[in-house]
Symmetry: C2
Subunit: 404 residues, 2 copies
């Protein structure tokens, strides 16, 4: 009945394939899952947060239980600018949102007309891909190499798209510990990419959920910081930072920094979509920063995850046959695995379930029609060390038995 009333976009809209896949693995006894993208609940600072929630509502309830502003809590914004060390930015350059996906949605809504092109790494974050798709964008994936997005491939793609009369609005990129590939963009590539995008008039949406989760190696400047501090370009990059992996995703706190005009348009969308974020949670996040809890907490998360990454990389080295390859990230929460070209991870998924181990088939992370099938994503932050070892043994055994 209702189907006759649905909008065209809604009729054809895809829901998360991952969700449906993961649902098929629910209630399988003994299954070891590397499928999720959830942080470990052991990392949630619930005692500090419990105290802050109680205090904020008791002491500032008249304020935080009232409507807030659509651009977000000023107190939180000023704490964020201090935390990140952007003394020269002001509050007009920032919006607080209900998680990072929310900021991605607003920015896409603000920029994309039906058929406009969004470039992205292929593979990329499925949540963004489905939102881009639902908003009518033409999403075009660009392969990565060990240094991140392949700039030459991007140049070719841009040339070809423009020859076909396409309007390219922005590049969506996750430069640090990319989801799903676990690749980080090299410093040289960051510079080359930004110079190219500036010259070609292609905006950049920098999705940054993981950069603080670095367990070793040198911290690289974000694209936003390079554009802002080195290139003195105030509009090129909009950076979206999530608190989901460094505080708790249930709180739904994220923010975007960028050009004041664009941020203002995102605020206009927030007025129409959510009115404002949860003001209690905004203030709690602000107090978490103001109390100096954030940096030690992030360090404790990194200390916590580091052995899990090491264990998974070690288990892969010990168990996988030589024709399987994988990325070796220094942080984040994912590892990407390449199978031989003629193996199909969509099929492997169902076989793996029989062998009590699961993952997300890589094809799910590509724009429609641009899929690769000989790849898969592994998460290492939601299983025990023992489960990681056993799960990788199972997966490697299965791959060897199929490919033998």
């Amino acid at each position: 009945m209702i189907n006759n009333y649905l909008s065209q976009t809604t009729k054809v809209m895809k829901s998360s394939l991952i969700r449906e896949l993961v649902a098929t693995t629910k209630n399988v006894p003994g299954l070891i899952s590397f499928a999720g993208g959830f942080p470990s609940p052991a990392t949630f600072p619930k005692d500090i947060l419990s105290k802050l929630y109680g205090e904020v509502v008791a002491e500032e309830g008249r304020d935080v239980l009232q409507y807030g502003s659509s651009e977000g809590d000023n107190f939180l914004k000023s704490e964020l600018l201090k935390w990140e060390g952007y003394g020269d930015l002001n509050q007009d350059n920032m919006i607080i949102t209900v998680g990072a996906t929310n900021a991605i949605y607003y920015m896409t809504r603000a920029l994309i007309d039906e058929g406009d092109v969004i470039l992205c790494e292929a593979p990329s974050f499925l949540g963004s891909l489905v939102a881009f798709d639902a908003l009518g964008a033409d999403v075009q994936g660009i392969p990565m190499d060990a240094e991140g997005l392949d700039l030459h491939k991007m140049m070719e793609k841009v040339k070809q798209l423009r020859e076909n009369g396409k309007k390219i609005k922005f590049l969506y990129t996750i430069p640090d510990f990319q989801n799903p590939a676990g690749v980080s963009m090299s410093l040289a590539r960051r510079h080359e990419l930004l110079n190219y995008c500036e010259a070609e008039g292609i905006l950049v949406m920098e999705d940054n959920p993981y950069s603080r989760l670095r367990f070793s190696g040198e911290v690289l400047p974000t694209l936003f910081r390079i554009a802002h501090e080195e290139m003195k370009n105030s509009y090129l990059v909009t950076e979206i930072i999530s608190f989901s992996k460094i505080l708790g995703p249930g709180m739904r706190v994220a923010y975007a920094k960028g050009d004041a005009t664009l941020i203002n348009k995102m605020v206009s969308w927030q007025q129409k979509v959510n009115v404002c974020p949860d003001c209690v949670t905004e203030r709690v996040a602000a107090k978490f920063l103001a109390g100096g809890y954030m940096n030690p907490h992030i360090q404790s998360i990194c200390d916590f995850y580091k052995p899990y990454l090491a264990k998974m990389l070690d288990s892969l080295s010990v168990n996988m046959p030589p024709y399987v390859q994988w990325t070796t990230p220094s942080g984040g929460i994912f590892i990407w695995l390449w199978l031989p070209e003629d193996m199909n991870a969509d099929k492997l998924f169902f076989q793996a379930k029989e062998h009590l181990v699961t993952f997300i088939p890589g094809s799910k992370f590509y724009p429609e029609g641009q899929e690769k099938f000989n790849c898969l994503r592994l998460n290492y932050t939601y299983s025990s060390l023992e489960q990681i070892e056993t799960g990788i043994e199972r997966l490697a055994g299965l791959i060897k038995s199929i490919y033998a």
Copy 2:
């Protein structure tokens, strides 16, 4: 620079005119404001909420700080179904959203293609009107009488729109203590309206932020309840209930009940827009219901507001000249005032500011091009009793001096 990149919709999108108007009255010393739509902070149950927030995060932090489901917290849903007494509905008929505007946005997104018609009361809630507009709807207002939406006018409008080949998707209505008019739809009108909508295949979006704020008189069944219980129609009405006026708007909690297919599509949009609501706040709201706090709390809000409404109605009776008329609601937070036909409340707004009293000009609540100018909205929940008396004296004095 960024302007060249904006989407067409975003370029022409209107921000809230009310917001800009209200901004012009900021920092005027001694100004009495009847402009806002904010609940009184004195009604926020901050001590109970402070305790619940602290407990929920301490005891259930591993759960509520994690990602939640896009359809909302099951515990909250089941408490809501119990609270409302809908034992025969199940969780598939409900979505939890980040405030009521968020539910309105999802439902509109799920149903409206560019140019589709949304019918609404004229005047109506501006937040919804701008969202409808931004989503490309053709918004058509229908006048009200003392019993609510004028059904004969609606029938004429539907006939005329269909003759012009227009596709009418749904009626947006606020049957209880309508914003801005303060009118409640009579029981007879509710039945007539629903029978008509069912016969004509026009869905109903019932926006219900105020029905629990009834200070006197008989509680009327919601449109959803009539459709569900009497008409046995499971798809006709989707009801959106906000906690903003009965708990605290800063918490951003609302929910929608309706046809499972439609709710599922709204969930798909929530996945792309917010992923899920704030899980901490969802669980706190659930505990507030489970603890039996809600009904006594609502009674205390009604007891608190009742004298403010009485004071404003009394002040209007005492001070206003006979050519000014107003609605006499039994609850909610607004009164609507009609000036003589040749008076313009947009102009009066600026004169009133000089006389240290403010309100929202009625024209701001009409779909574009369908404005009435001899009307205005008064809020009585955000001023003291003395301010209400003085403010209405000032406004009446000004009107008499202009019209004399």
